[in-house]
């Protein structure tokens, strides 16, 4: 067995560990082990790469890795769970950037001064430069929007789609030149810079609420870019791992679109949340909202048999997840059956709310997905909606003119009583009024979610 064979076998082991890592993610009991197996696989792949014949510059590579590994680890350890979507965006961006830079530096190797590169290698270089760079710049804008460094509102201007389309056409032209024309690095650099600009312009008009879809899509992009570098370097582990990520990102993007009943095109080009005039005005009804106090809600909760908590992003913003768990503990002490209803797009990315509640030590068997909990609402005494809005809006079921019509929602309005904790009457991210708030069985408890929940805990304890 040659050294190259041994390295290829080591890469095969890595591929198996990655597939197992994803396989083990099918249950929370095995997921952590799976992630660690994947990490071991990554170490094997890196070690095998260092063993490659003819590799130079060990010292500088190792120094760079030794400097940047702790930075990545520190960022990962420090980040708050509410900021997870930004963190994922950032790590995704650096991965895409790395793929683009690999393409640029490898172009130098495969394209000696005169002469032409083979079509497949040229295409792979162009693709990884293009996709990697879009992913890098797009992820940074997504990060900026989620971190609120850039306005979360869609940024639009006249001629935007036309301009973006023209830029994309220009990029394809440059890529064609890279493939066919003179072997100049300048073209690859132009491709990377242009693609970066495209990444920025492409994400700017997308609203903050849709960033999770964007991140998931860009995640798939980075995977594709990594796979493309695999074709350049003739490296199977890059091809397979990149495509696993590509498939995962694509599937998640599709699932999210389904959970919001919107097509990918609508998410990417619809500038959702910009202006939703007509529809919102129509759905007001008599508009009477009943406001209540923490004491009244506490009594209702304490004497209920079953309470379903519906957490939304407002809960995460207020960092109220720990207080909500304490409230649930108090209620459970009194024999109340407390469950959590998690909408697939609750939080800022799919499954984000599960992570936030897990952080607050809520046992995951208490978390119910939408399909499981919806039949339970008619048997629920109180639905406690904390910082969730659009995912509870009955207009999605009934009002054909509503922008969210057809989106699967949590049927909180079927519970006996509904209590909504909300900062103010401002509409949610989608900019739509919620008919739930004017429902006669709904009571509103206004204020910061964390303060309101703290008051509820105090009031329940006093009973």
């Amino acid at each position: 067995m040659t050294r190259a064979d041994a390295i290829a076998l080591a890469y095969l082991v890595t591929i198996v560990t990655f597939i197992l890592a994803l396989r083990f993610l099918s249950s929370p009991t095995t997921a952590r082990l799976g992630n660690r197996i994947g990490a071991v696989g990554m170490v094997i792949a890196i070690a095998a790469t260092f063993a490659q014949a003819g590799l130079h510059n060990y010292a500088s590579i190792l120094i760079v890795m030794a400097v940047f590994a702790p930075i990545g680890a520190l960022a990962a350890l420090r980040v708050k769970m509410t900021a997870m979507p930004q963190m994922v965006a950032l790590f995704n961006g650096v991965g895409g950037g790395a793929a683009a830079l690999v393409a640029l530096s490898d172009f130098h190797r495969v394209a000696p001064e005169p002469g032409r590169i083979s079509f497949d290698v040229g295409l792979s270089i162009a693709l990884s430069a293009l996709i990697g760079s879009v992913s890098f710049a797009g992820s940074l804008v997504a990060f900026g929007k989620l971190q609120e460094l850039v306005s979360g509102r869609p940024i639009t201007y006249p001629g935007q789609k036309l301009g973006n389309g023209a830029l994309l056409a220009a990029l394809v032209a440059v890529a064609t030149v890279v493939l066919a024309g003179p072997q100049r690095q300048a073209f690859v650099i132009a491709l990377i810079l242009g693609a970066g600009l495209f990444g920025i312009l492409f994400v700017l008009p997308i609203g903050g609420a849709d960033m999770p879809v964007v991140i998931s899509l860009l995640n798939a992009f980075t995977g594709l870019a990594a796979a493309a570098t695999g074709f350049v370097l003739h490296n199977d582990v890059l091809i397979v791992s990149g495509m696993l990520v590509g498939a995962s990102g694509t599937l998640l993007t599709m699932l999210m679109g389904r959970a919001m009943n919107r097509s990918l095109a609508n998410v990417l080009f619809g500038a959702f949340g910009k202006v939703q005039a007509g529809a919102a005005a129509a759905a007001d009804g008599d508009g009477a909202v009943r406001s209540t106090t923490a004491e009244d809600v506490a009594i209702m909760l304490a004497y209920a048999k079953r309470v379903v908590v519906v957490p939304g992003y407002g809960l995460a913003v207020a960092q109220a997840q720990h207080d909500v768990r304490r409230l649930a503990d108090e209620l459970e002490k009194r024999g109340v059956d407390v469950r959590y209803a998690i909408h697939p797009v609750a939080g800022r990315m799919p499954g984000h709310m599960n992570v936030l509640l897990a952080e607050a030590n809520v046992p995951y068997p208490q978390l119910y997905e939408m399909e499981q909990i919806n039949p339970e609402f008619p048997r629920t005494d109180v639905a406690l909606v904390i910082g969730a809005n659009d995912v509870t809006n009955p207009a999605a079921r009934s009002d054909r003119s509503s922008p969210i019509y057809g989106m699967p929602i949590l049927d909180v309005d079927k519970a006996e009583h509904v209590v909504v904790l909300k900062r103010s009457m401002n509409p949610g991210f989608a900019g739509i009024d919620n008919a739930l708030y004017t429902d006669p069985k709904t009571m509103m408890l206004f204020g910061d979610a964390k303060d309101s929940v703290t008051n509820l805990i105090a009031s329940v304890k006093e009973l």
Partner: protein, 101 residues
Amino acid sequence: MRPALVITELTVLVLAIFVGFEVISKVPTMLHTPLMSGTNAIHGIVLVGAIVVAGLPHQVTWIRVVALAAVALATMNVVGGFVVTDRMLQMFRRREPPRSE
């Protein structure tokens, strides 16, 4: 006659897509955030590519800088991705809720 290398690679690519869809579709919604950050860590495999290009002999200086920058970015991607995923997954516990009846 053996097919061209690129054809074999395409075969591997297509199979990977199917395996990817197959395993990912079994991941419950509850774990979609760790799934995203976990796959994020996996595409850090581009570090392998970065090491290969950074390890090429006789490079122009600026190319070497670009390749090392790729190593830097990919290293952060890998380490950060796995650590943050581990941090999330350790929080998922199955404690039976205390019942006082």
